[in-house]
């Protein structure tokens, strides 16, 4: 049991969260709510499946096409600020939810991208996001949107630099941990 849990701890964690949420749903509205939750999840999965295929395809092909030396030079630890800024740009431009950009970030991780670069990519995806801009502008209005972008503009590169400076050397442990 123990080695199983150790090897599949992400599965175990997610399954535990599901059980807790299912319990909460049951407490709220009985089996009907539990069933509705399962249905809703599968519905969204079905709706996003075309996007998921594209994301996984992109992640797979990216690793085959982009040479490790190229990633090392442009996005690796040695790339420094250049790599972090490039990652911010890529993150800001890439569309889709976490099920789309995390497979791609995972592909970059296994191709040798640095920790600061990866954090900058994920953070810029969520703070610079160009594809989200129209919604934010339309619903919250120009003033809030503009001020929000202004205030959070420096965060993706700064967080990337900070993380690289503090924990940059942990990248090989992170890479190994995912490979297992």
């Amino acid at each position: 049991m123990k080695p199983f849990l150790k090897k599949h701890w992400v599965h175990t964690l997610l399954a535990t969260v599901i059980l807790i949420l299912a319990g909460l749903a049951y407490a709220r509205g009985g089996w009907q709510f539990v069933l509705a939750g399962l249905k809703s999840g599968l519905n969204i999965l079905g709706r996003e499946s075309v996007l998921l295929v594209a994301a996984f395809l992109t992640a797979g092909l990216l690793q085959a096409v982009v040479k490790k030396e190229f990633v090392a030079r442009w996005l690796g630890q040695e790339a420094g600020l250049k790599g972090i800024l490039l990652a911010c740009l890529g993150g800001g431009l890439i569309p889709g939810g976490p099920y789309a950009y995390y497979p791609i970030a995972g592909a970059l991780l296994s191709s040798g991208a640095g920790l600061g670069v990866l954090v900058a990519f994920v953070t810029a995806k969520n703070l610079w996001s160009v594809s989200r801009l129209p919604y934010e502008f339309a619903i919250l209005g120009g003033t809030i949107t503009l001020r929000r972008y202004l205030i959070t503009f420096l965060i993706p590169p700064l967080l990337g630099i900070l993380v690289e400076w503090l924990f940059g050397t942990k990248i090989s442990a992170i890479q190994e941990g995912v490979k297992k």
Binding site: P103, V119, I151, T152, V163
Partner: protein, 161 residues
């Protein structure tokens, strides 16, 4: 088909052309890597979407609206950071909720802290992050990120408060 799907398929298309030009075997290698990643993560993705489904049904946005209300100041910013983590879903779900809070008088600083917290600290996102990046990455990114929404809210309060 959403524009995100369309753009990602275009990127995948460009990569297919690039692998085709990169020489024999590259496309096959890419597809093998695609299949390997898919197989390793399929169950996790399904589990993660089940979490999304339950969160949908439990609609924590009601909780968020009830808690944050028109509170402002430091308490409002701190509450916004915490509640931003619980906000589920994409921009078309979350922005209308934030707009309701905004109209209820939440104030600029908590609203900006809320958007930022949902962007960088969302708990639902972690279900998708863990399988691909591992716990070390998540704890570093999320842990350091905890300071960001509060800082963003505080700066907003200082400048426009």
């Amino acid at each position: 088909m959403s524009s995100a799907t369309l753009i990602l398929w275009c990127i995948a298309g460009v990569l297919v052309v690039m692998s085709w030009r990169a020489g024999p075997g590259t496309i096959q290698k890419g597809l093998e890597l695609t299949w390997k990643t898919t197989r390793a993560n399929a169950l996790l993705i399904i589990l993660a979407f089940m979490i999304v489904g339950f969160v949908n049904v439990l609609s924590p946005e009601e909780l968020v609206t009830a808690w944050i209300g028109p509170t402002s100041g430091w308490r409002g910013i701190a509450a916004a950071e915490f509640l931003g983590m619980l906000l589920p879903g994409g921009p078309y779900v979350v922005f209308p909720i934030i707009e309701i809070l905004n109209q209820a008088g939440a104030g600029l600083a908590p609203v900006i802290a809320l958007i930022t917290s949902w962007s960088t600290q969302s708990l639902l996102t972690i279900s998708f992050e863990l399988p691909f990046m591992g716990w070390r990455f998540t704890s570093i990114r999320w842990g350091l990120g905890l300071a960001i929404p509060i800082l963003a809210g505080a700066v907003a309060a200082l400048i426009w408060g």
